[in-house]
Amino acid sequence: MSHRWGMAVDLDRCTGCGACVIACQAENNVPTVGEQAAQKNRLMHWIRIERYYESEFPNPRVKFRPVLCQQCDNAPCEPVCPTYASYHTSEGLNGQVYNRCIGTRYCGNACPYTVRTFNFFNPVWDKPLQLQLNPDVSVRPVGVMEKCTFCVQRIKASEIQASAENRELREGEPTPACVESCGPRALVFGDLSDPDSEVSRLARSPRGSMLLGELGTKPKITYLPRESSDGQNR
């Protein structure tokens, strides 16, 4: 049976430590762009931790929110691509075929979460840093859009492994790099088509909500908000 990969983000666990950001960068050969590009808002991270101040000193409140591709069931990025570079995979992921991309950047505009990144130049790794590149993930050339894939290479690997041992996938496999690294287990990944998986249970939680759900994009990521405490300066 086909899977429906999804994620749950428990903001009450997330500490904003940034481990997921580097985990993703290392796993997916996401280039570092350097200072000049960073000044121009050209960071390439596939997952970012949004930081929002909600009030000021002496009672500052901060909200952290990891934002990655929401793998929408009804993704605005897909239909607008003239060359089917961004398309819907049979497992419901928002795929991105780098070789088909001609760089209209239309998908980037259409995505309400601004989680698609663009190769404004050819990526460079000062030798011998290129040795760190993950052979399972292609390196993207200039002019190509890229985005979070839910570590599709890991998904495929464990599916192949499972079929080799002719068994179903177990809970906890596959695991994207970001989820793997998350200390407080704020990120939970799994198969939404299996009602008993942890992610399904969290997705059903009354705390759960979708990011920008009102846009009708039907994201596959559920956000569980942080418990707001009353205890400020009674």
Binding site: P79, Y84, Y87, H88, T89, S90, E91, L93
Partner: protein, 164 residues
Amino acid sequence: MNPENGVYVLCSEPGSTERAVSALLSAGMSRSDIVVISSVPLEQYAQSEKVRMPWLVFAGAVLGGIGGFLLASVTQKSYPITTGGMPVVTLWTDGIITYELAMLGAILTTSVVFLLTARLPARNRLPCDPQVSQGKVMVGIASAPDALRNNIIERLKGIGEIRP
């Protein structure tokens, strides 16, 4: 018919054009044989034959539209692409392609029909006289039957200079 048989008269002012035409008629030529060449359209001498252009254009539009629809829908099917259950063909968007190609069909038909009916590009079947561009009007017969030839020339004398 060979160009040598053509008989024409150059008229400098509207009146003479009128006389030339009547002269040819009286010489027994039918209106449809008479050729009036001018540097601007002269409605009164235009043969009142049917213009079928609109119908042809409409046909062209229909063809273009059908072509557009097939291009958009059928050919997509012939290139199977994984879309995870997302539609490949949507009528709404095919509508746009269909529309654009229908208009293209109409436009192309128009120009083609024009070229055909106006016999363009043309071999030099008819004489070409720079004076026409100076505003003169050339009236005559594309190919005069040898029997009538001299008679016609007779009648046209005095209206203007005769060609060839």
